[in-house]
Each structure stands twice: as C-alpha cells, then as structure tokens.
Amino acid sequence: MPEILSLNNVTFSYTPEIQNSRNAVENVSFAVDEGEWIAIVGHNGSGKSTIAKLMNGLLFPQQGDVRILREPLNEENLWESRSLMGMVFQNPDNQFVGATVQDDVAFALENNGIPFEEMVKRVHAALEQVKMSQFLDHEPHHLSGGQKQRVAIAGALALKPKLLILDEATSMLDPQGRAEVLQTVQTLRTETGLTVLSITHDLEEAMLADRVLFMNDGKKFAEGTPAEIFALGDKLVEFGLDLPFALKLSKLLQKEGVPLMGQHMTEEELVNDLWTSNFNK
C-alpha cells in the first residue's frame, strides 16, 4: 500500500536554545500506509501530541523530516499538505464555529472556496457517513459529546482527507459517547477504507488499530500489532498505561491459583479458557 505519511528520525525540542534540555520527541520514525489504522499510545507528556503537531506542520522538527505522500513537509507545501489531513481534537466544545451542524461542517469547505452546489453535496454526504443527517439544523452546543465529535469528524471528512487524525478525540466523552465515536470510525473504515491515526491512552481504543506505536518519554519504545504491544504486559503499567481488562484479570486469576492456559487480550478468549480449563472436563 502506498505511504501517506512518515516521520524519519524526527527530533524536536520546545527549548532548543537551552543545552541538554529534554527533547519532547527524540529520533522517532514510523510510516502510515494507505488504509491502515495506527494508534499512538503513551503516558501524558510522552510526546504523542507533539507528534500530531509535527505531522500537520504546526511545529517543524530540529532534526529529521516529516513526509506527506513522500514529499518532505515545508513552508511551501504546508497548506496543501494540511488539506490532506483531517483532525479531530480532544475537546468537542473548542472546535465549533458554525451556528448549526451543517454550517459547521461547511465552514472549512467555504474557506477552501468549494462551489456552493458541491458544498451542499459534501456536507450532506459527510453527515450521512457519521449518521448525523437528521441533525442538519441543530445547534452544535445542544448535542451530546459523542454527537459533537461525530460532527467534528464529518467536518474533517467533508474535505476528503487522505488521513483522519484523532487526537485524544474520545478522552472527554462518557462511555456511550466513546463507543459511538469508535463505532463511527470502524464503520467508516469498512465502508470507505479511510486511513486513521488515533492518539490515545485508552487501550481498548488502541486494540481496534492494525498497528500500535508505544511512546515513552519522547521515544518510540515499541511498535507492533495490538497483541504484540499488550504482550509487553507490565512495561505498559511501568510507562504510565494500564493493561487491557481481560489481561489484567487473567493475571489476577493465575495469582489466585486458577488454572488457565494463558493470558488473554479479550474477554471472550478468557471466558473460553476458563471454561475449557475448569469446567469442560
């Protein structure tokens, strides 16, 4: 699959003038291929959000480069590159500008000089994709958190991005809102093959990704499938994260002396193992 974005040996410090100051991002490399869902996980301050800002040119690295469609990102191609990336941020209330849902989704299109007919078409299509069509004329601030984030996703989709970046987009939502947004992203991926990069410390969200990048103190500590990353077990806890629920419970059960064949990532696997190891005899 063609590469959409890559970071190549990127190092960034917020205070480069101070000698020996800590780098927010240090020698990080990774690539995102078309159609993938990549999750970047890590503790607060591990460099996740700095990476997001480097990807869309809000910050430029002191070393290494960021490539969009294999072209190094620079001042000249900045705006064009940004139009390829739709971003959804943490706080749903900080990203609304329109008085109604459809105005809000149209905002970026208007800014980009999209003709009216085309704009209406795209707004309707984008809201259809996130299942918010029936809210066209609603005021955004009357929506629930999950609905607001779905509108924000529609706003990003209307620009037909190559890559959708979710920067902790579910961390302020209630459990239902979080489930709604993740469901929306999953549906989008099956229906349109959209490429997604989500920055999160919710491991259940990371489990949905194809590949996980595990950041610690500005460095890439590990990269792999969710199963490979969660197999790191206590390292996750040591670096400020947690274990997925089923894995944590597997460990506790083994500590209590319950026979199990292994440690499990999903509840289903754990229930099955409990059944075959203990009841089905």
Binding site: G42, H43, N44, G45, Q90, S144, G145, E168, S171, M172, D174, P175, Q176, G177, H201, L203, V237, G240, L241, D242, F245, K248, L249, L252, L253, K255, E256, G257, V258, E267, V271, L274, W275, N278, F279
Partner: protein
C-alpha cells in the same frame, strides 16, 4: 459536614423565554464523612446539582442545607464565604483556573482570600505540594511550565489549601493517562480517610464509583432516581439500562462468568481483585463437590 437537598428544583434563565428546567424536586442527604458518588447520563443534571453544594447556584424552589447553613429558594443568601471555604469544588480541568506567577502563589491565593495569614498560607502550600505528589522544586516555577498532569495537581492543592470539610470532584481524572487517573483517585481516597472529609464524586466512570464510593446516587432527567451502596446499585443491570447507564466492566464480565457456571457468585464484585478471588473460591467449591 453533611449536605441535604430538599425538594430542590432549578431552572436556568428563569422568567425569560429561554427558561430551561434542569432539576426537578431533587431530594437526598449526604451524611458527614461519606464518600458519595453521583452518576448519570450526560444531561441528567449532575453538573447543576454540583453547583448547589456550595451555593454557586441557589435553588429556584426547595432548600439546600450545607452543614448548619440553610439556602432557601427566593431568599438572598448573605455571606457565603464560610460555605465556599468549607466546600471545595474541583471543577473539570481545574488546571484552566491557574493564573499566578508561581505555583506557590497560586496555591496560597485561595486561603489568603479567606483571611489566612501569609505565613500560614505558605506553610500549607509547602505541605500540600508533597501531599499531591509533586517535588518542592515546582513551588518557584510558573504553573504554565508544568505538564498537564502536574498542573492538575497544583490546582487540586489550591482547593485543599482552603482546608475544606467537603470536597466535590467533577470528573477529576478526565484527560489523564491511566497511571495519573489511578494516582489522583487513590490520593483523594487517602485524603478522604485521613482528613475525615465528606467526598462527593461526580463521574461518568462506573469503575471509579464502584471502587471508591460508599454510596451512589443516580440522576436521570433532572431527578434523583435511585440510591444505594455500589453492590446494590450495580446488581440490577436492567434498571441501570433504563437510566442509560452501563454497569462497570467487572460487573458485565461477572455476568458472563455466572452464565457460564450456571449459578451466581456470592456477591456483586466491584474490583478486578475481588472478582478474581470470587471466581477462585467458586472453583474450589465446585471441585470439592465433584
């Protein structure tokens, strides 16, 4: 200090065309030294209730008892300073309220505003900074040079510096990584016990309500609809669904296990540790029988 809500109703923008009623005859008590969780779907009235606990909002009808202070609808409440000192609210994203030049000054601001001497306020700030898990070296730094998690701790220290008897927490862990979430929640639990506080936790996290609270109140469409210990509240999954709430993950998993085993465990488990111990126990009994 205890808090009692009696038939409390509240309407935003009362008497205007934009009037919107948010609370309807809310009625419950929070006895002294209780760890009380308030849960409810978005828009259930949780945040409106919260602002009644230190009279930031006054009821449009009904009464709020805050210790020996009585706030009655329609009557002007004078001198609320004492109430605001005794009931500390940690709002969502409290770090947005930091403003001073240094961490020390920021923590000292609250108590000095309530008439505490500079020496005393400084002594409190120095003690609290380590209590919330920060090194002394942050005291002279600008709060804006700290990480998000550290800023949150400074803001919490600022509330604790007023030496409140009741502490109200509005989604205190939103946006923190899992370790930060656990550290902050454990810290509040420890404070609750050591300082004999009354703690009120307003949260979406069923897991936190299950793990820490003595008692849970469910808010639904502006009313308190159910109250009880976590074991009682989370036992009845169907009722929770009616109020658009999901039980904690542990409880849902326990149900799967019970379904597989064909019988119930001896109690509703509230933490992973408890559930693992219960499953192990059930298996031992099963083996002894066969």
């Amino acid at each position: 200090m205890d808090i009692k809500l009696q038939q409390v109703s509240y309407a935003y923008a009362q008497g205007t065309p934009f009037e919107k009623r948010a609370l309807f005859d809310v009625d419950f008590d929070i006895p002294s030294h209780t760890y009380q969780a308030i849960i409810g779907h978005t828009g259930s009235g949780k945040s409106t209730i919260l602002q009644h606990f230190n009279a930031l909002l006054r009821p449009t009808s009904g009464e709020v008892h805050i210790g020996d202070r009585l706030i009655i609808a329609g009557k002007k409440a004078k001198d609320l300073k004492a109430v605001r000192q005794k009931v500390g609210i940690v709002f969502q994203f409290p770090e947005h309220q930091l403003f001073e030049e240094t961490v020390l000054k920021d923590i000292m601001f609250g108590p000095m505003n309530f008439g505490i001497s500079e020496e005393e306020a400084e002594a409190r700030a120095r003690e609290l900074v380590s209590l919330v898990g920060l090194p002394d070296s942050v005291l002279d730094k600008s709060p804006f040079d700290l990480s998000g998690g550290q800023m949150r701790r400074v803001a919490i220290a600022g509330v604790l510096a007023m030496d409140p008897e009741v502490i109200v927490l509005d989604e205190p862990t939103a946006g923190l990584d899992p370790r930060g979430q656990k550290e902050i929640m454990d810290m509040f639990y420890q404070l609750h016990q050591e300082r004999h506080l009354t703690t009120i936790l307003v949260t979406h996290s069923m897991e936190d309500a299950a793990r820490y609270a003595d008692n849970i109140v469910i808010m639904h469409e502006g009313k308190n609809v159910l109250s009880g210990t976590p074991r009682i509240i989370f036992k009845d999954v169907e009722t929770l669904k009616k109020f658009r709430l999901e039980p904690p993950r542990i409880v849902r998993f326990q149900q799967k296990i019970e379904h597989m085993m064909g019988h119930s465990l001896s109690k509703v488990c509230l933490t992973e540790e408890e559930l693992a111990a219960e499953i192990a126990q059930a298996l031992r009994e099963e083996r002894a029988e066969s």
